[in-house]
């Protein structure tokens, strides 16, 4: 046997044990907050308090019966849907232009497009609020409207859509697009009939990502919404400052479940696409 080969000081079995403990701790670290909130939502007590003494579905019923909470949920969904559409249209168009044409100052443009993603929410929210506080459309003040929150959330969601779709557009075989035009298909029709199906996975992922971003966002909605348009995170925060009932935990579960649903959809589409590629 060669002299260079020596038994390692830490045995492979010990190494594996350390790895297992580490992995388990990490999983626990990620899951415990979610699981604790989930457990709390089933509490029978009148207050958010940890050792749970009794179990009940009562707070779910309360949540569903409260127009304030369901209203906030509906506001959240409206704003998230609007953000998803708005940021996807803008992000897809930007990514298309960025990958398809030779643009001047393209690096600068890229930085500019990415910039809002790295801006603190409070700065963006404040800027949007100050800019639009005096605007009104048809008598309705823009401040406090769903539309303004969608615009603000799109500032965060659009760069993500752009990032994702830029990669998607780069992966498309340009020859396929050329083949369609070569066979007599005008550019706009080529985009909708040939390109859109090719980018559908990316498109759906973009929509869902933007939806999730908007659903989770708290800082901007805090001062861009009013009593009629406030979203679930805002109402939860208000609730925490006053009654702190397990309804807040119910709201957390509702948001988390929506996010999980979106992420699973993305995963399903992604896996389907992977299978197509590797077949």
């Amino acid at each position: 046997m060669s002299d260079a080969l020596r038994a390692p000081r830490i045995g492979p079995r010990l190494l594996r044990a350390i790895a297992a403990v580490f992995t388990l701790s990490l999983v626990a670290y990620i899951l415990i907050p979610v699981l604790v909130t989930l457990a709390m939502s089933f509490s029978g007590a009148a207050q958010l308090r940890f050792p749970i003494r009794s179990w009940s579905l009562g707070w779910y019923a309360e949540f569903a019966a409260s127009p304030q909470w369901t209203g906030a949920l509906i506001n959240s969904l409206i704003i998230a849907t609007g953000t998803a559409v708005m940021s996807s249209v803008a992000g897809v168009a930007a990514a298309y232009a960025y990958t398809r044409y030779t643009l001047r100052f393209s690096t600068l443009l890229y930085v500019l497009l990415m910039l809002p993603l790295f801006m603190p929410g409070i700065v963006l929210g404040l800027g949007v609020a100050l800019t639009f506080s005096r605007f009104s459309i048809g008598g309705y003040s823009l401040l406090g409207s769903h539309l303004l929150v969608m615009i603000a959330h799109s500032l965060w969601a659009m760069p993500l859509v752009f990032l994702l779709m830029e990669a998607v557009f780069r992966m498309i075989d340009r020859r396929v697009i050329e083949a369609a035009q070569d066979l007599g298909c005008p550019p706009l029709r080529t985009f909708f009939e040939i390109e859109v199906p090719m980018i559908s996975t990316g498109l759906i992922s973009s929509l869902l990502f933007a939806f999730v971003i908007s659903l989770n966002e708290f800082v901007m909605v805090l001062f861009l919404t009013d009593r009629d348009t406030q979203t679930l995170p805002v109402l939860m925060w208000l609730g925490l400052r006053s009654a702190a009932t397990p309804q807040i935990a119910v709201a957390s579960v509702v948001i988390s479940l929506s996010v999980f649903a979106c992420l699973s959809l993305i995963m399903v589409w992604y896996v389907r696409q992977l299978r197509k590629i590797t077949r």
């Binding site: 396929v176 050329e178 369609a180 070569d182 066979l183 007599g184 298909c185």
Partner: protein, 348 residues
């Protein structure tokens, strides 16, 4: 009815300082199969993309069936390209792929069905109508691409190295199939390739390109046997080269100063390059009777199946000669190479 399918009239295209297509003129008659042959970077594909309308020309004119098209976008030009990658629509079935161009031409549904079936029959893909491209092999994909382009019956078919991504046996098979289709249907075509075997086997005429220019346009036999210049002679078909000087009527190897060369036709003093194709020289005893001879040293012999390939060194130059049988001489022994005057090309 015009007899010319395609007319390129002094077309040029620059990319910045790079001249991709330099004053190219070429006409393709109705039903003619013309190949653009050349090394990579010669401007073949650029020329094809100018015809298809994917790039625009800087100057010149492009005529299609007698009408000028160089101002038209690709979707208004009556051309159909078969791309190297196939470029099938991944989310459409084989039948939908083939029907696409016909739909764009607003042909009645019933007629589309007939023509799709026809096109798929022609490329022998019946039964695969409902498959998606990712369920097809490389060869099948190219057949679909071919059917898709042929179905629209364009003024000219543009082949952009359609076989270069396939393995050898498939390449040979599809090569003869395209040839068969051309003979049966008589479409007009420009075929871009860097494979001179493909060009020879399929074409009515071959246009050899280098550095954006067409250097010779002729039938394959003429290009092979009477190349217009040294580049074409060496690019088309295998050659080996003997470099020598003539000094005082004697052949001299510029490196060693000696070369036992006998030429039937004496040459004036100067530097020359003499080209022979591997099938042409006679070796050993048989070379004695030839009018041109050189003494070389036998390197090694390789068995190629139906023949033996002899590698010989005449000075620093390697001459390759194919014979049905192997020379019996030892490696390193002197061997005589002889050839007919018609077999060689000499360039100064």
């Amino acid at each position: 009815m015009p007899q010319t399918a395609l007319d390129l009239d002094h077309i040029c295209r620059n990319y910045g300082p790079v001249v991709a297509v330099d004053d190219v003129s070429l006409t393709v008659a109705k039903g003619e199969f013309v190949t653009l042959l050349g090394p990579s970077g010669a401007g073949k594909t650029s020329t094809l993309r100018l015809i298809g309308g994917f790039e625009s020309i800087d100057s010149g004119a492009i005529g299609l069936n007698g009408g000028r098209v160089d101002h038209l976008p690709p979707y208004l030009r009556d051309t159909a390209t078969i791309f190297q990658s196939g470029a099938l629509f991944p989310h459409k079935t084989v039948a939908e792929n083939v029907a696409f161009g016909l739909r764009m031409r607003r042909i009645a549904k019933a007629d589309i069905a007939v023509r799709v079936a026809e096109a798929l029959a022609v490329v022998r893909l019946q039964g695969l109508e409902d498959r998606y491209p990712d369920q097809l092999s490389g060869g099948q994909k190219q057949r679909v691409a071919l059917a898709r382009s042929m179905a629209v019956r364009p003024a000219i078919l543009l082949f952009d190295e359609p076989l270069s991504a396939l393995d050898l046996s498939l390449r040979l098979q599809l090569r003869s199939e395209i040839k068969r289709l051309h003979d049966e249907i008589g479409f007009s075509a420009i075929y871009v390739t860097h494979d001179q075997g493909e060009a020879m086997a399929m074409s009515d005429r071959v246009a050899v390109m280098r550095s954006g220019k067409i250097e010779q346009t002729d039938c394959p036999e003429t290009v092979f046997n009477a190349a217009a210049n040294e580049f074409i002679h060496t690019f088309v078909g295998e050659t080996c080269c003997l470099t020598f000087r003539i000094e005082g009527g004697r052949g001299v190897d510029p490196a060693t100063g000696t070369l036992d060369l006998h030429l039937a036709q004496p040459l004036p003093d100067g530097a020359y390059r003499l080209y022979l194709r591997p099938s042409q020289p006679s070796l050993g005893q048989a070379a004695q009777a030839m009018p041109n001879r050189v003494i070389a040293r036998l390197g090694f012999v390789a068995f190629l199946g139906e023949k033996y390939r002899h590698h010989l060194m005449a000075g620093p130059c390697e001459i390759v000669g194919d014979q049905p049988g192997a020379l019996t001489a030892e490696s390193g022994a002197d061997a005589l190479i002889g050839w007919d005057s018609s077999a060689m090309r000499i360039f100064q």
